[in-house]
């Protein structure tokens, strides 16, 4: 009996039972639907076994959108609970689980796959490649991320969610103070997803270094590719730290080691240090690709080349270096003394300089331009003022003596939401709208798109600006309730209104997708935005091989110059194209990883050992498999190109 008790929810509530039923019904509906419409084969051939970077990008995108709503539901519940003093909507335990999963889901399973989606879809197209360097590894990265996300998400119906915050600080997250399996889920699910991310880092570094089209030197790469390149370098340096920290946490929780415990020589702040040595670069892993997206969009719709290309690149390189030198600012209050705090205070504020350079370069890109305000451009233009508010409050937080007052308060919460929402989420929504026609061959409705951009921007301000004030009034973060005398009521009520506005804005995006699928015109050509870089030089939707002939590049804006100056992009004759074959291994291996993770969470050693053997079996099979890929014949290419409407330039 004791064995089964661990799978029960420690403190069930009607909402959790309802979710269980909903999950069950959804799974049944998906299985029934696939069977009824005879789509199992299609799903397997075209998606589950695909190694095509575009399809992998789209799968990342769908996962990210699903997780956005999962994390958003958490957010709404939190704001609702805090909208009134002494509210009884959620109890402390439930609230603790919700803010923990909100943070983890939004950072690891929403923002990360969103940038992965855009990097996967766009980078190979921008550099004129046929796929990434290691297509099969790319599929493995996606499926590991996906299985990690699923494992994390079942926690709230099987065994209980983690409840020690998304930062999961030990010793609170240790077995001494968190007995349920919740934090095991955190450790193992992030580990599995993290391996996937690390593989992506290696994959994209290699792709960008080795697979650029002829003529595209590093300093002729589009800015998004530059940002992706630097991001992936940061990933390769930062993620191993997370891997090690999670492994140590797992050892502490499941094998009674004492890295982070309160006794036997454990060090409580060791986890916090390791976590933020990864965690701060992680912020830049999210925000640099977003900056790349903005650079593309702002230059496209200002109808001008990006201002200060070189300083844009330099600022990203400097940001990537500084990102590893500031982690202590997450705990100025640890007691390390005035000297150490002074150093980290200065490095932290120094990041404002390269970031400021980027903001000014975007502003100067508008200068002498011919600005067209489309939905992606609207997001980018709204990003600048909102992100500036978030950014300058970051400088304020970098003042370490003052940080003793901001730390752990709603002021901090306001700051990082005003950085991440305009910085990352707006960029992803802008990127989604911008690349949608390239992905699916039709555009999202502009009126609905602009309306949702306005609603989301204004709601962001309404939701988060009040937190600066409640923070300065002494409201600590992560409090599930407060008394009426505390004086936080008004601020929190306003925040709740903003959160509701955000929900409406995001719902409108979903409606826009539905509306556009039904009504949007399909004959939009391959370059609906009059854009500047190579991804727009091929058809929409993009054929499997990306470019019939590999493009020849001799400027930073290859496609624009081809359109305006008559540079010839596609030289030479059609030749047969070598493409990688689909493979079931990434999907199967990741599924086994799911079983491995689940067994690990519940310390079921026999299934764990069997799954481990399965994983190594997959790797062995993969190593000995002889697969030389396949060729697409010239006739087939001609046929496809004809069907897609002939040459684009």
């Amino acid at each position: 009996m004791e064995f089964f008790e661990r799978f029960a929810i420690p403190h069930p509530s009607p909402a959790i039972y309802a979710s269980m039923v909903a999950i069950g019904l959804t799974v049944i509906a998906i299985i029934a639907g696939l069977t009824y419409f005879k789509k199992w084969g299609y799903l397997w051939r075209e998606w589950l076994t695909t190694v095509d970077h575009k399809r992998i990008g789209i799968m990342y995108l769908i996962s990210a959108l699903l997780m956005l709503f999962r994390g958003g539901a958490d957010a709404i519940m939190m704001r609702a609970q805090l909208s009134m003093p002494e509210n009884k909507l959620l109890d402390a335990q439930h609230y603790n689980e919700i803010f923990t999963t909100h943070g983890v889901v939004m950072i690891m399973f929403m923002a990360m796959p969103f940038i992965m989606a855009l990097m996967n879809f766009v980078v190979p197209l921008q550099i004129g490649a046929r796929d990434v360097a290691f297509p099969r590894l790319n599929a493995l990265s996606f499926w590991l991320f996906f299985m990690g996300a699923m494992l994390f998400n079942i926690s709230f119906v099987i065994g209980g969610s983690p409840d020690a915050g998304w930062t999961s600080y030990f010793p609170l997250a240790g077995t001494e103070f968190s007995e349920s399996v919740g934090t095991n889920y955190y450790m193992i699910a992030l580990q599995i997803a993290g391996i996937g991310t690390l593989a992506t880092g290696i994959n994209f570094m290699t792709t960008i270094l080795k697979m650029r089209a002829p003529g595209m030197t590093l300093m002729k790469m589009p800015m998004f590719t530059w940002s992706a390149f630097i991001t992936n370098i940061i990933i390769v340096f930062a993620f191993p730290v997370l891997t090690v920290a999670l492994a140590m946490g797992t050892l502490d929780r499941l094998f009674a080691s004492n890295f982070f415990t309160t006794n036997n020589g454990g060090m409580d702040m060791l986890w916090a240090n390791l976590f933020w040595v990864w965690g701060h670069p992680e912020v830049y892993i999210l925000v640099l690709p977003a900056f790349g997206i903005y650079s593309e969009i702002i230059s496209t719709f200002a109808r001008r080349n990006l201002y200060g290309y070189k300083s844009m690149v330099a600022s990203m390189v400097i940001i990537s270096l500084l990102s590893f030198l500031v982690w202590v600012h997450h705990f100025f209050t640890m007691g390390q003394g005035a000297f150490v705090n002074s150093i980290f205070s200065i490095t932290t504020m120094a990041i404002a300089v390269p970031t400021g350079v980027k903001i000014f370069n975007w502003l100067f890109t508008l200068w002498k331009g011919k600005i067209v305000i489309t939905t992606p451009m609207l997001y980018s233009l709204l990003f600048i003022p909102l992100f500036t508010i978030g950014g300058v409050t970051g400088v304020m937080l970098g003042m370490s003596a003052a940080d003793y007052q901001y730390h752990n308060t709603m002021f901090l919460v306001a700051h990082f939401h005003l950085v991440i929402i305009p910085g990352v989420v707006f960029a992803m929504l802008a990127g989604l709208t911008y690349y949608w026609p390239k992905m699916f061959g039709f555009m999202l409705n502009e009126r609905l798109g602009k309306l949702s951009a306005w609603i989301i921007s204004i709601s962001t301000l309404v939701a988060f600006i009040p937190m600066f004030f409640s923070g300065l009034d002494g409201q600590a973060r992560r409090m599930y309730t407060y008394s009426e005398q505390a004086g936080f009521t008004m601020w929190n009520m306003i925040s709740f209104v903003g959160a509701a506005g955000l929900a409406i804005g995001f719902a409108l995006i979903v409606y826009n997708i539905y509306y556009s699928i039904r009504y949007a015109p399909r004959d939009i050509g391959s370059d609906p935005w009059d854009a500047r870089s190579l991804e727009w030089a091929t058809h929409s939707p993009v054929p499997e091989y990306n470019f019939a002939i590999v493009p020849n590049v001799d400027s930073t804006e290859a496609f624009w110059d081809a359109k305006k100056k008559g540079h010839k992009l596609f030289k030479g004759e059609l030749e047969k194209i070598h493409m990688p074959n689909n493979s079931p291994i990434p999907f199967i291996m990741s599924s086994i990883f799911f079983v491995w993770g689940f067994s690990f969470v519940f310390a079921m050693w026999i299934p764990l050992i069997i799954a481990t053997i399965g994983i190594f079996g997959c790797m062995a099979y993969q190593s000995f498999e002889k697969d030389h890929g396949r060729y697409i014949s010239v006739e087939e290419i001609k046929e496809t190109e004809e069907k897609l409407g002939g040459p684009t330039v």
Partner: protein
């Protein structure tokens, strides 16, 4: 013009809200450390407001002047590479601002990490503040008394809080007297505070530590030294002594009201400093470790010179 009105709305909101700032407790300091911090906050916020307005201004200018609708149909935007001069200004101004703020920040760091200015002449009152799930224990070793969840302090005298935890990491925070600092199980942190004026202040644990976190608060009452002395006398006359058994009971997870004892738990449950510190720094079971490790022990003790009475 939607954007303009949005910006206007924003500026008005910020202005109205800022005028109401005096009521925010962090900006209503009652001690020198909190005052240093409030000054930093106000000055940095003002400089930042200037930057925000500059960015908003440039953005508005670009949008108004270079909208496609404002331009001739056949206008072709020029190709402009960067300009060394413009970009140097974009680097130079932020560098200057960051330099000014860094200077302020470093100066304040040394202020908040030392006995508050103007209080150096009097011997500070040492209070051991330790956290357990979800309470605060305050031991006054010189006075020989201990309280739970409330703190009496004298005004016009420096306070030295020795912070540690009986479990998770907590953060000791009295916003109106000064910013917070962590209380951890394996070491003792020192937080320097002082109260200028008598009054009641809110104190709490600011670092999330589980189910009882929201209610993990304590009351602070600052009073003149003579009233404080009277209170100490009264406690000594009326309260019962704290015993190891009683203290273990108090450590059980849960919430307690305000309690008062004579004696302190430091006698039977010393704070994790000096020879009692974590990380194996000379805990008694490790006495016969190698020389190398003993050497480390001494290094560590040198840093903790304040606690000299414990090991000399």
């Amino acid at each position: 013009m939607k954007l303009k009105s949005a910006i206007l709305f924003l500026v008005i909101t910020i202005a109205t809200v800022l005028t109401g700032c005096e009521q925010l407790i962090v900006l209503d300091p009652k001690g020198p450390q909190a005052e240093t911090q409030a000054n930093d906050i106000i000055i940095s916020a003002s400089i930042m407001l200037f930057i925000v307005l500059a960015v908003f201004g440039i953005l508005a200018y670009m949008l108004i002047k270079y909208r496609a609708s404002k331009q001739k149909e056949d206008y072709e935007p020029p190709h402009i590479e960067g300009s060394i001069l413009v970009e140097s200004i974009c680097v130079g101004i932020p560098v200057l601002i960051v330099a000014v703020l860094s200077f302020m920040s470093v100066q304040s760091n040394y202020k908040v990490e030392a006995t508050p200015a103007g209080y150096e002449d009097k011997e500070p009152l040492v209070v051991y503040a330790s956290s357990s799930a979800w309470k605060w224990h305050f031991s006054y070793p010189e006075e020989g008394i201990e309280t739970v969840n409330y703190l009496y302090i004298p005004t016009d005298r420096a306070l030295e809080f020795k912070l540690y935890s009986f479990g998770t990491i907590s953060s000791f925070w009295i916003p109106q007297l000064g910013g917070q600092k962590y209380a951890m199980s394996d070491m003792v942190n020192t937080l320097h505070l002082a109260a200028d004026v008598p009054g009641e202040y809110m104190g709490r644990n600011a670092n999330f530590n589980g189910k009882g976190f929201a209610e993990n608060t304590f009351n602070v009452t600052a009073m003149p030294q003579n009233e404080f002395d009277d209170w100490v006398e009264e406690v000594k006359d009326t309260a019962s002594p704290i015993t190891e058994e009683k203290f273990d009971e108090l450590l059980e997870p849960g919430h307690l009201g305000q309690l008062t004892f004579t004696g302190t738990h430091l006698d039977f449950r010393p704070a994790p400093e000096g020879e009692h510190g974590g990380h194996n720094h000379g805990s008694s079971s490790n006495e016969d470790d190698s020389d190398e490790e003993n050497h480390e022990v001494h290094d560590h003790e040198d840093h903790d010179h304040e606690e000299s009475e414990h090991h000399h």
